[in-house]
């Protein structure tokens, strides 16, 4: 066991602190320089995406096509999953079905045990993060090493990823240097990215060579061929499944696309939306196990069927996990991925998380200004901000919003529902703002006014001015 596995992941990965998004966001924004740096790093990626999208004249048509293909695939999901299973099996793969994260973890563990695999390398897979596979396997004495550089950095630090494509985007190179120094004894104070990357490469290479199994995620599973597509920039998935004989590919059931040709739409959208690259460095197709090896594919539901059967939220399953909604979200960029307390953060995470546990994630649909940028940037056209609005309706219906909010909305309805009450209330507010001393209107309990002035109250309302104007015109 090396240092990685002495780190206790279970606490940080499985049970996020019982704080709401605003509280966690306030902690992140308290360090303004850092929040600013984080915002800038992600905005840079968003701009790269814009340049790539602009270079494709049919960009908007591609988005529409992708959305239609996903809608079709989801409408016929059982048929396509079965077709995929038949085709994959025919090529020699073994397909497993997991209803939830627990079953998924058990299936993976049993496979490793059967094959006496103690050392495992894993390429980036948000599904295994979602199922908390690492702590489960570690508790059974298996060494799992995340081989995506960003994932490995957060693994060493005992943190969950803060972004689905850029897991360590919240960490500065100086901090990476400290982490490496602590765990793999790199030179203290050497922040040179090339040096650090070489050290990581050297260390991970030993892990690859010693691995007895490779676990990967899946970007697309093609029903008609039974093939898998895995996209990486580091080639770590390829190496991880080429050296050991056992390849376990874990995927959510929504990763299915019907035809091989459909990839011509999704591959063009994925990397451009994700990182502003025309294509990932490696786009690897797997058709059955390699000679002498085994390929196991674990199909995981874990709440997806429930989302699929929900009329309002089913489109959330179109998601191809590109992360573009995170890069564009002005809230995510300034509050950091950990403020969402969910494997998938940002707009899509705020739609998916409450479907798993509405009580725990009640604040996420409100971690949003409803600006709609996510909806327009999404390569598969998920109406994200409308889904977040719909979630708010669900939260209110299930009484999962704070009582103070519920009461103030009720009050609002009463005052605004009566023109006399509204006019009187308005008059009082304006009069009070004009007459009361500033310390009485701008006190600490008035959250609006802690860092903002209230409007300068006019003497007369619009309706009064309008009446006067009408009178003047009539006279």
């Amino acid at each position: 066991m090396n240092a990685i596995h002495n780190t206790n992941h279970t606490g940080s990965r499985n049970s996020p602190p019982a704080l709401d998004h605003p509280q966690l966001a306030n902690i992140f924004t308290a360090d303004q320089a850092r929040a600013h740096w984080h915002d800038g790093a992600l905005w840079f990626v968003r701009q790269k995406r814009d340049r790539m999208a602009k270079a494709i004249p049919e960009w908007e048509e591609l988005r529409s096509l992708a959305s239609q293909i996903k809608a079709h695939a989801l409408a016929n999901l059982p048929e396509y999953l079965e077709l995929f299973e038949r085709q994959a099996t025919e090529m020699g793969a073994v397909v497993h079905w997991a209803a939830d994260g627990q079953q998924h973890n058990q299936i993976v563990y049993d496979l490793l045990k059967e094959n006496r695999a103690q050392r495992v390398v894993k390429s980036k897979s948000m599904l295994t993060e979602e199922c908390h596979l690492n702590p489960f396997l570690e508790a059974h004495g298996i060494e799992v090493v995340d081989t995506d550089l960003g994932e490995w950095i957060v693994q060493l630090r005992g943190e969950p990823p803060s972004h689905i494509v850029l897991p360590a985007i919240h960490i500065k190179k100086e901090e990476v240097s400290e982490t490496f120094h602590q765990h793999i004894h790199t030179e203290e104070g050497n922040y040179d990215p090339t040096y650090l990357t070489r050290q990581a490469r050297h260390h991970l290479r030993q892990k690859f060579l010693g691995a007895q199994a490779g676990i990967t995620g899946v970007n697309f599973a093609v029903a008609e061929t039974g093939g898998l597509v895995i996209c990486t920039n580091e080639g770590n998935a390829d190496l991880g499944v080429s050296l050991p004989n056992l390849h376990i590919a874990c995927m959510g059931i929504e990763k299915i696309v019907p035809r091989w040709i459909d990839l011509s739409v999704f591959i063009r959208l994925l990397a451009r939306s994700a990182t502003g690259q025309p294509i990932t460095t490696y786009t690897s197709h797997f058709h059955g196990p390699r000679v002498g090896g085994q390929l196991h594919i674990v199909l995981v539901d874990n709440g997806r069927s429930a989302v699929r059967s929900h009329h309002t939220f089913q489109e959330a399953l179109h998601c191809i996990r590109c992360g573009a909604c995170m890069n564009t979200c002005p809230v995510y960029r300034r509050s950091g991925g950990h403020s969402y307390s969910n494997t998938v953060p940002g707009p899509i995470g705020s739609v998916l998380a409450p479907a798993m546990d509405a009580h725990k994630h009640h604040s996420l649909p409100y971690a949003c200004t409803l600006c709609g940028s996510c909806t327009d940037v999404c390569p598969v056209k998920i109406p994200l901000h409308h889904q977040l609005l719909a979630w708010r309706g669900e939260m209110a219906e299930r009484k999962l919003i704070p009582l103070s909010k519920r009461l103030s909305m009720k009050m609002g309805r009463i005052v605004l529902g009566n023109s006399l009450l509204f006019r009187t209330g308005g008059w009082l507010a304006r009069f009070g703002l004009r007459m009361l001393p500033k310390w009485l209107t701008h006190h600490r309990l008035n959250t609006w006014a802690r860092q903002r002035d209230l409007p300068i109250a006019p003497k007369q309302s619009f309706r009064a001015l309008f009446q006067q104007r009408k009178k003047r015109h009539q006279d």
């Binding site: 509050s335 409803l370 600006c371 979630w391 609002g412 009064a464 309008f466």
Partner: protein, 248 residues
Amino acid sequence: MRVGLFIPCYVDQFYPQVGMATVEVLERLGIEVDFPEAQTCCGQPMANTGCLDDTRPLADRFLQIFSGYDHVVSPSGSCVSMVRHHYEALFHNDARLHHLSEHTWELCEFLVDVLKVEKLPVRFPHRVGLHSSCHGLRELRLDACSERMGNQHSKVRRLLAGIDGIQLVDLKRCDECCGFGGTFAVAEEGVSILMGVDRIEDHVASGAEVMTATDASCLMHLEGIIRRRNIPLRTMHVAEILAGRNWQ
């Protein structure tokens, strides 16, 4: 043409000059507007909180008050979007709503789409930063947004660009949200303030003297930060510029 003026509740009480500017712009173009006195609020604050039971009575009220008009015009993209896109979830197959949602307009789009205005005979010799309020931008498509590719309409920007003497500045982030977001401004204070400060700094760095927007709510939040920090930037609603108001 019977045109009903819909003045958002907080504009009525705190930004009457925006309402008056709207009236002037329309009257100069020969449109006589009617302001139904019973109006209060479209219900958006409740709807955006998810409290649909508290929204329905207000939306119902709005429908009763405004369904008799040929057109309803408002100096707010956000409130118009509420009526046009979000009332549908509250009423099922109400014929009145069908008419209302198709004939409720944000001021600039009413000028461009209905009145076919190309140019307004006013002068505003200042450097102006246009803050594209999100709901006007992405729900009503009043201007081109940076996420979408291909040809897009430009209504607010075109109207402003046609004004004598005006100089529209180029922002680094042409359409990022200001962080108002209704109750978000209070519930997520930390992020809201950072977003507002970033927008203001972008306008200041771009040399803007005046920051304008289609929604007074964004400006209320931004102006609040500007005044607290004594930043040399003035906020004006688009209607005020279109009405040829002086900047002081």
